[in-house]
């Protein structure tokens, strides 16, 4: 393993964040373009000297169809120190009951605000999203620390009750007895086989909601079965 080609944590983070600022771009695609721009190893100094023109034309104009404003904002991220985690907190938007008809509320076990990477019993927080066919809204982030002075008999019940208002829970691992406690509260746990970004997972769910949701999900969305049949008939007719 040559240390020449490894990225510092800081740079890896910058590249990841910059890729998110570009449409249809993952870190790998951006990395390929940057390698073409400045060569390996990619260093902070080299990125500081990178200009828009080089960035846009690199790798046979990989990014040439993107507008300058988008590219500039990506360059800005690449060239500047990532701010402390506190300020990276995503923006929470208020949600009032009835705002999004035909939506489901989901909880995501996450330790970094970006990925579904939490274990139910140990994740630092649950991110709460309201998801409908045409909107995804982050409505809350709930820390899992037990408040000082509060006696908790069962940590897993405490955690499940934190997200009692949600219909679906995404996580990467959960024990059997804990899963049973989650299900008992009417929350449907979904365990992912590997870590995936929240955006991707929620996007997939949105696709299902917009299409033909399975009956249990339709029920969670508050669609009565009579309506479901009506929809099916409309779809056929």
């Amino acid at each position: 393993m040559s240390s020449q080609n490894t990225l510092s944590r800081e740079l890896a983070l910058r590249i990841g964040l910059a890729a998110r600022a570009l449409p249809d771009t993952d870190a790998k695609r951006l990395f390929t373009v940057l390698t073409d721009c400045v060569g390996l190893p990619i260093t902070e100094d080299k990125l500081t000297g990178l200009n828009l023109k080089t960035f846009k034309s690199a790798q046979d104009g990989e990014f040439s169809d993107l507008d300058d404003v988008t590219l500039k904002s990506a360059l800005h991220i690449l060239k500047h120190q990532v701010e402390a985690a506190g300020t990276l907190k995503p923006k929470i938007i208020d949600f009032n009951e009835g705002d999004m008809p035909g939506s489901v509320r989901i909880a995501v076990a996450s330790d970094d605000n970006i990925n579904v990477n939490g274990h139910f019993g140990s994740c630092a927080q649950f991110m709460i999203y309201q998801v409908s066919a045409d909107e995804i809204r982050l409505i809350d982030i709930r820390g899992t620390a037990i408040p000082a002075g509060l006696e908790v008999d069962d940590k897993n019940v405490f955690r499940a009750e934190l997200i009692q208002d949600c219909q679906v829970l995404y996580l990467t691992s959960v024990g059997g007895p804990a899963a049973a406690k989650i299900v008992r509260l009417g929350i449907h746990p979904i365990k992912l086989p590997s870590v995936e970004s929240i955006i991707e997972v929620v996007g997939q769910l949105q696709g299902v909601i917009a299409g033909t949701p399975p009956p249990w999900l339709a029920k969670a969305m508050g669609i009565e079965s009579a309506d479901r049949f009506r929809f099916e008939r409309e779809a056929i007719g």
Binding site: V183, H188, P214, P215, W216, K219, S225
Partner: protein
């Protein structure tokens, strides 16, 4: 006598299919379903219906009335 699967609750996990001693459970177009002609509620094979035992959802598999 037979059991049926409540369509609105079944999550299509498929856990019930292999445990049925009479092979009465199959995946339908929407969710799993039980063939009421062959379902015995496991009488003669087990003390309790095996599909109910393994189903992760409460009250998802119920006896057919009459």
């Amino acid at each position: 006598m037979a059991l049926y699967i409540v369509e609105a609750d079944c999550i299509s996990c498929g856990d019930c299919e292999p445990v049925c001693p009479t092979n009465s459970i199959t995946e339908g177009s929407i969710v799993f379903k039980i063939d009421k002609k062959t379902c015995t509620e496991c009488e003669g094979d087990f003390d309790v219906p095996q599909c109910v035992k393994v189903c992760p959802i409460d009250n998802c598999i119920l006896p057919l009335e009459a």
